[in-house]
């Protein structure tokens, strides 16, 4: 599964994307955020306020309760500021 990061989430984690194998027990987006935060200080800093993190699965906005099973691409980013 591909993870993508944008804006300050990307900067704090220190990379724009990576491939991961989803561990057992990570069912929802919320679970994924909790698991990522434990990986290192960059993830911890980026995801410290999970409520500020927006998530897209396969390029469609989802909320944090969404299941992640079968996702090809999950993106994490701050609230959008385009337009």
């Amino acid at each position: 599964m591909k993870l993508k990061y944008f804006a300050w989430v990307r900067e704090r984690i220190g990379k724009a994307e990576e491939d991961i194998d989803l561990p057992e027990g990570v069912v929802s987006v919320r679970d994924l955020l909790v698991w990522l935060r434990a990986r290192d200080d960059g993830y911890s800093e980026a995801l410290r306020h999970p409520e500020a993190i927006r998530v897209a699965i396969n390029q469609t906005h989802v909320d944090h309760r969404e299941p992640v099973a079968g996702a090809r691409e999950i993106a994490l980013f701050p609230p959008m500021t385009g337009g």
């Binding site: 469609t60 609230p79 959008m80 500021t81």
Partner: protein, 160 residues
Amino acid sequence: MGGAIVPDVRIQAEDFDLAAEVSRLTDGRSDVGAVVTFAGLCRDEDGRLSALELEHYPGMAEAEITRIANEAVARWPLKGLTAIHRYGRILPGDNIVLVIAASSHRQAAFEAASFLMDFLKTRAPFWKREHGADGTAGNWVEATEADEKSSHRWSDFTQR
């Protein structure tokens, strides 16, 4: 929905040409009575900024704006709908975003353009970073409460 128009959505680094984009929707037609355009431009915030840098999520940016545009097409009787959003480094006074809505009547054109901008602000995956007048990369722009509220004006829009 027979006869519904297909929105023209483009994500690009290059500038756009307002007059050319309006002509593209109206030339050779005599059924368009109202054309509303919205152009969003880069401000320098009283000299504080030298540029904005716009990051985007390729693929999703176009997909998400297309979803919002199709919602507008379903909601108002439009003759044409264009949305162009730029990314990359943009200087004060330069264009960032263009929305054009063409209809028989003015209210539909005004509302569709305003609707598209409200949702584009809160749902299209773009992020602005400020570059200071001294050239250094500065803060990411924070999303505003006001923008979030504006999108709630269109209360029967189905969040997906």
